[in-house]
Symmetry: C2
Subunit: 109 residues, 2 copies
């Protein structure tokens, strides 16, 4: 036990879960918000912005990247991490869809 049974669910469900899970940590939310705030792509100073050790942040970035939430491209000796708008759009549409469908119901009001 302990492992998530992904094979019981659809690809779409697994993908939504994967993305949501990646955002399901305050440090990663903070990283997302920092990437959103910053104008330039030089994102190397996330470490200074967030009170966690460099390896920890590197790990969080990796998880966001694996989930497709951000993308990173090498920019000299630093790396440019940026939010992947397609992933955010997917999530936004997903929740907006739920909202729309809920409007038509009066459940547990």
């Amino acid at each position: 036990m302990g492992a998530t049974k992904t094979d019981h669910f659809t690809d779409k469900q697994n993908n939504i879960a994967l993305m949501a899970k990646a955002i399901g940590h305050p440090a990663r939310v903070a990283i997302l918000e920092y990437l959103m705030k910053v104008d330039t792509c030089i994102c190397g100073d996330i470490v200074n912005e967030i009170p966690l050790a460099q390896p920890t942040i590197s790990q969080h970035l990796k998880e966001l990247k694996n989930a497709g939430i951000i993308k990173g491209s090498v920019e000299g000796n630093s790396i440019c991490y940026c939010i992947d708008d397609a992933a955010i759009a997917k999530l936004q549409k997903y929740f907006s869809n739920i909202s729309l469908k809920l409007d038509k119901k009066n459940c547990c009001s």
Copy 2:
């Protein structure tokens, strides 16, 4: 270690993370979609819908409830679990906000 350092982040960041984390599991995504699909509030047959044991589903429901994604009210000897539209709306707005801010940038294109 192993514990998330929530105290380093804002309440809003922690709340978004908490909600996203709750949705960050395919079974909980499936539960959400089932609650959305079903018209009536009699939600006791989630167990038949999702290929996981009853205690596991009860646990997932609890997590969704703790995160404020769903709410449950006693309905006889069964319990009516329903999606909390306010939480979904919060998430939708959050991601729609990110989308809007990303439109103005040409990062890593």
